[in-house]
């Protein structure tokens, strides 16, 4: 799909990236200053890399001989700020890059902006403006859609109003390069995850694989770590949904039905050596310790195999030693339902 190999220097910072993506949503994740936006801008043709080669769908848009301007690259770009044209209506913005005779209705319905068509951008909320910007980029019918932290400018509440629409985008079939430093967004949206640090790709692979890898967790920062499970809601009672996941059945609040994706933060998993009795926590899964990763801090990251699913658990080194844990040992993983944050529950693919 996207085949990038670029080198670019800005002052003391060097971007040196080699990356191939498949269809679906590829998230480029990394801390601020890792070079995520520079990479996105190079791909879109907004920044000219010093050297390298960029191909989209087998078509070379940049190399030693070619440097197509952005308008000839067939790449849509959703910026951090909506960047709507203030002198055009919502309809005018949506249609700006669309071919003649394109009907914006389907896209507008998918993004929930059909009622805003005649409004001016000045009269939109932040979340609405973000959705219009996404619709505008989609209607351009790009071969690749780059989304550069489209939610970063929104507060947590507004972000919640946009995320479900982004999840629907996953089904729209356009390959997406999603730039973000927010793991919750990435965990909800991505199929493939690329970790970028100091201008270099440090890990790349499927989302589930990387998020359940203690080594990658150390790279991402232990407080960000958490495995992702996908499952189907089989029953809803007392406001709790029972979800069948590869790791076992989990009970989660705030889910109504369908196929969902749950992120379980490593910090929210407690490990017990015996089956716990008399606990208020609802989710207890038998598991086997598969890998142990000791970081530089006081924490230890465990990779747990529970059924066919994988969980990450973060313990203090002291607890780890006191319980005498080790690879291959059978344990019980205890998950508080509140440990599965509502904001971390989203529709799966």
């Amino acid at each position: 799909m996207l085949d990038v190999s670029v080198q670019h220097r800005v002052g003391a910072f060097t971007l040196d990236v080699d990356l191939q993506t498949a269809s679906g949503v590829t998230a480029v994740f990394g801390p601020s200053g890792a070079g995520k936006t520079t990479l996105a801008r190079c791909v879109a043709g907004l920044t000219r890399p010093d050297t390298g080669r960029i191909a989209v769908d087998e078509r070379v848009v940049f190399d030693g001989d070619t440097d197509l301007p952005p308008h000839r690259r067939d790449i849509g770009y959703v910026f951090q700020e909506a960047r709507l044209f203030p002198h055009l209506s919502v309809r005018g913005n949506l249609m700006y890059g669309a071919g003649r005779g394109t009907d914006p209705t389907d896209v507008a319905n998918m993004l929930g902006i059909a009622d805003l068509m005649d409004r001016r951008p000045g009269a939109l909320s932040g979340g609405e403006a973000a959705r219009v910007a996404i619709g505008r980029a989609l209607l351009r019918q790009p071969k690749l859609l780059i989304m550069d932290e489209p939610l970063a400018a929104l507060d947590a509440r507004r972000r919640e109003t946009v995320l479900p629409w982004l999840e629907r985008l996953r089904g729209a079939g356009v390959p997406i390069l999603y730039i973000s430093h927010a793991i919750e967004e990435v965990a909800r949206l991505a199929d493939t995850l690329v970790l970028l640090q100091e201008g270099r790709v440090v890990r790349a692979g499927s989302l589930a694989e990387i998020l359940s890898d203690p080594e990658a967790a150390a790279l991402m920062g232990p407080s960000q770590a958490g495995a992702v499970l996908e499952g189907d809601v089989i029953e809803v009672a007392d406001g709790l949904a029972a979800i069948r996941t590869p790791a076992g059945v989990l009970h989660v609040a705030g889910v109504t039905g369908g196929r969902v994706r749950i992120r379980i933060r490593a910090e929210d998993v407690i490990v017990a050596t015996q089956e716990p009795q008399g606990l208020s926590a609802l989710n207890t899964l038998p598991a086997v310790i598969e890998a142990v990763q000791a970081g530089q801090g006081p924490g230890v990251m465990l990779r747990l195999q529970a059924g066919d699913g994988v969980l990450l658990a973060r313990l203090t080194r002291r607890s780890f030693d006191r319980l005498g844990l080790g690879v291959g040992q059978k344990v019980w993983a205890v998950l508080k339902t509140s440990g599965v944050a509502r904001s971390d529950v989203g529709g799966g693919s």
Binding site: P69, F79, E81, F85, P86, P121, G122
Partner: protein, 230 residues
Amino acid sequence: MIELPPEAWEALRLSLKVSIVATVLSLPVAIWVAHILARGRFRGRGLLDALVHLPLVLPPVVTGYALLLLFSRSGPLGAVLEPLGLGLAFRWTGAALAAAIMGFPLIVRAIRLAFEAVDPRLEEAAATLGASPWRVWRTVTLPLAAPGVLAGATLGFAKAFGEFGATITFVASIPGETRTLPSAIYAFLQVPDGGAGLRGLVAIAVVVAVGAVLVSNWLAPRIAARVAGR
């Protein structure tokens, strides 16, 4: 209604014609020059900037004299244009050229400021939506700079309407051909009984100038609101 001698009406009509033609013809050039001054990065940009501002700082009579040297029958441009019947010296078209040149720096200045205020990030967004640089300019840059274009055009028109020094030097003050309103006021001043015509023309000059500013002030916030998406 003010009692005006016919030659005063003639001067008003001529002045309106001269300033409208001057504004309309210089506007596209001014937009182009303002854009390259605002966005262009090229050698000689400072020189172009100085050249554009020259009529603002030169004594008008010097500008008029320079035009006369260029466009008189023996001047380098006049020698070409006169035989074709397109001579400008001592014609109303010459008055329009003088008015356009004198108003040019003001128009360029206003429009340039407007171009500099257009957010380049919007132009970037337009490019990622598949718009060529020319389409970006036509559909994003220029519409967003529209309030400045209007302000520049108003200033240029008012300046052209009042232009005197360069005009009278270049095309003299021929009744019915080049005696614009300021020239006519000057001519009335030379005659002891200029009374009614003089006062009338002065009043008209004030009305046109104030009118131009009022129309511009009425339009500007409407265009600005449109552009700002409210």
